[in-house]
């Protein structure tokens, strides 16, 4: 029987792998929708990047309150057992050594006497009271029978009411109470939880227990609380892996190192600089945060209430424009064969977009204008991300169920929609931080800057497509009365876009984290490639995209080869063409 079960398990595993294989197929199908994206920008990320981009093993663990308790009790038990001391003593030792079991062990076995002295664990009392029936409390100076006096291991006598006052003062002073010592200043004997439980009032006992629990997270170098407001989970983190991103069960992602929200591919130092810059400029930036702008054509105020940057003015105007630069969408959109280039500060400036309004003219000071460009895009992606999070929730709570009805699909078959939205949220986050990255890219590194803006532009246009598909193309099915034939096509498209966008962004993050080191080797060819693309941007039409120029450039370096059959550029290590599957 047992072995039969095992066989079943093995079979299940295989069929799971099969599923993976097939979903891999869908990805390739999606390249049709996404060919621009993948075959030129994608080329820039060579094989090495792709291998590295596989996420290392997750190096953090989220702890719920019950997990924290169990771990803390386990550690205390371990120390108590190894050192043969009481659990209270073990807890005191751990508190003094930042809850590191190994540090306690090392210190203790190196010099037990020194450790005992430092933390106040005495082996015998310092004062003794032989044959006295009455003792004087060292705080209130009253005499008490022995039964009315409490003492720690040292033997210094205090009455119960003075103990309670002493302990209460300390607990209400904060977590320092976890290091409480005997009131006698020359003594130093530790007052542990056993004394607290014996002598403090109930309210104080609870407070103390809470401090002890919190200390296990806060004083432990390997753990932190999730910084999301109201979240009570903690995270433990194991060094190594070089990636500080942590995502909590509450869905908040943050940086382990600096506890700001997750900010890959930007490093912690840049984040601090950027946040300080933002607060320094915040007064000037207030107007940007206003979420309405005049329509560039009819001047009526437009409120942006969708996540993507493609805005359509209300009828009768119906002018389609880009929220960021207020330029006509037709100059950006994929339909014209142009490219979504709203990230390009220099280009926008030359076109005079920034002279649009009186207000902007006031801000003509160059540095502020430059900052404004990056800040506005940073903030827009931030609010797009917030909006996407809200949409995701709406999707999960309302729409999926309804869609499942109208399209006669089980909810499990609609997972691709939530996955798309999760991907949008993540991409908005990355894209947002690329603007802080761009702001701090040195001006003089021209080739790097151009390459960066190219990659960012591709990322942006790819994400816009995904966002638009998930937001606008989905709309028709949400309002549809019954099943639509197009729904399966929509699935293929959205799932494909999601997967391709995911890959692109993972590679983008990797490339930026590597400081765009590719450019150092290939600076000249990149700058050529991008400038020919730039020029192509204005002349409409597919051929004008500058792919030819790009390809020729790429084939001339020795890390790539050009396919004889379809002319696609492939990375050196690929033995078959990634587009037509012919052998090299």
């Amino acid at each position: 029987m047992d072995s039969e079960d095992d066989m079943h398990d093995a079979h299940d595993m295989e069929s799971l792998e099969d599923d993976d294989f097939y979903s891999g197929d869908t990805e390739e199908g999606a390249m049709d929708y996404y060919s621009d994206y993948d075959d030129d920008a994608g080329d820039y990320f060579d094989d090495a990047d792709k291998i590295e981009s596989r996420r290392p093993e997750q190096n953090f663990t989220i702890l719920k309150e019950s997990d924290i308790r169990v771990r803390q009790e386990d550690d205390i038990d371990r120390v108590a057992a190894v050192l043969s001391v009481s659990r209270v003593a073990a807890s005191i030792l751990l508190r003094h050594h930042n809850w590191s079991v190994s540090k306690v062990h090392d210190a203790w076995f190196a010099d037990e006497e020194r450790v005992r002295k430092a933390v106040g664990l005495l082996e015998k009392p310092v004062v003794q009271h032989p044959n006295t029936s009455e003792l004087t409390c060292g705080i209130c100076f009253e005499n008490y029978p022995r039964s009315g006096i409490g003492m720690a291991s040292c033997g210094h006598p205090y009455c119960f009411s003075c103990w309670e006052g002493y302990i209460s003062t300390s607990i209400n002073d904060g977590p320092g109470c976890l290091m409480l010592r005997c009131p006698e200043p020359t003594c130093g004997a530790a007052i542990g939880q056993d004394m607290i439980d014996l002598l403090a009032c109930n309210e104080d006992k609870e407070k103390y227990a809470r401090y002890l629990r919190r200390s296990y997270i806060e004083d432990n170098k390997k753990s932190k609380w999730c910084p999301a407001p109201g979240c009570e989970y903690a995270v433990t983190f194991d060094a190594g892996g070089g990636n500080y991103d942590v995502s909590c069960l509450c869905s908040y992602s943050f940086c382990w190192n600096c506890t700001e929200e997750a900010h890959r591919p930007v490093d912690c130092g840049t984040v601090v600089k950027w946040i300080m810059k933002n607060s320094a400029e915040s007064e000037n930036m207030n107007w940007i945060l206003a979420n309405s702008k005049p329509c560039p054509k009819c001047k009526r105020p437009i409120e942006k209430n969708q996540g993507c940057m493609h805005i359509t003015c209300t009828p009768p105007c119906k002018f389609e424009f880009c929220w960021l630069c207020l330029g006509a969408w037709s100059d950006h959109g994929e339909r014209t064969g142009g490219f979504y280039a709203c990230n390009r500060y220099e280009a926008a400036k030359q076109e005079g977009v920034y002279d649009d309004t009186e207000r902007r003219r006031e801000m003509a000071k160059n540095s502020l204008e430059r900052y404004t460009h990056y800040y506005e895009r940073w903030a827009s992606n931030q609010s797009s991300r917030q909006k996407a999070l809200a949409d995701l929730e709406q999707m999960q709570n309302v729409h999926i169920e309804k869609l499942s009805d109208t399209q006669c699909q089980p909810e499990s078959q609609l997972k691709f929609i939530t996955e798309a939205w999760l991907q949008i949220v993540e991409c908005r986050r990355v894209l947002k931080w690329t603007y802080a990255y761009g702001y701090y890219l040195p001006e003089h590194e021209g080739a790097k800057k151009q390459f960066f803006e190219y990659l960012q532009g591709e990322a942006e246009s790819g994400l816009e497509r995904l966002h638009q598909c998930a937001e606008k193309e989905l709309q028709q099915f949400l309002t549809a009365e019954g099943q639509s034939k197009e729904f399966n096509d929509f699935r293929t498209k959205l799932a494909g876009l999601t997967s391709v966008t995911k890959n692109y962004f993972e590679n983008l993050v990797r490339a930026l984290e590597n400081g765009l080191s590719d450019v150092d080797a290939n600076g000249a060819s990149f700058s050529k490639a991008t400038s020919s693309k730039n020029a192509a941007g204005s002349s409409k039409g597919r051929a004008g995209r500058g792919k030819g120029a790009l390809r020729t450039n790429r084939t001339s370096d020795d890390t790539h080869w050009s396919c004889e059959h379809c002319t696609s550029v492939n990375v050196k290590s690929a033995t078959t063409c990634q587009i037509c599957n012919q052998r090299r």
Partner: protein, 153 residues
């Protein structure tokens, strides 16, 4: 009255302060408030404060002895750990306070502080700087102030 239910501890401490005063220190409760003490400390020998008589006030708050007494110099003094309002930078008056300490121990600690100024933990930035950059000159100023503001009477 404030004195009506004075804790036994305060009464005992007061009695002892009066019956066995510490050398160079006197402390007596005010007539209308037994929690308020008039204190005099003699400048320790071989310190810049030698020969001076320094007046202080000491007050025992409601929470005493769970909270530290409040002590302040009334006599002007040139000392890196005492500011111009007479406030004193002394650990046992702050985070190192313990209810097992007493008025007597506090006053002895203040006396010791006069013998051993600590410019590394200053309350008065300027005096501390002076002390560190030119100790001999700072000591002279302290002696001068002792003569001017703390000479008996």
């Amino acid at each position: 009255m404030a004195n009506s239910n004075l804790p036994r501890r305060i009464i005992k401490e007061t009695q002892r302060l009066l019956s066995e005063p510490a050398p160079g220190i006197s402390a007596s409760p005010s007539e209308d408030n037994m929690r308020y003490f008039n204190v005099m400390i003699l400048g320790p020998t071989q310190s810049p404060y030698e020969g001076g008589v320094f007046k202080l006030e000491l007050f025992l708050p409601e929470e005493y002895p769970m909270a530290a007494p409040k002590v302040r110099f009334l006599t002007k003094i040139y000392h890196p750990n005492i500011d111009k309002l007479g406030r004193i930078c002394l650990d046992i008056l702050k985070d190192k306070w313990s209810p097992a300490l007493q008025i007597r121990t506090v006053l002895l600690s203040i006396q010791a502080l006069l013998s051993a100024p600590n410019p590394d933990d200053p309350l008065s930035e300027n005096i501390a700087k002076h002390w560190k950059s030119n100790e001999a000159e700072a000591v002279e100023t302290a002696k001068e102030w002792t003569r001017l503001y703390a000479s008996g009477a």
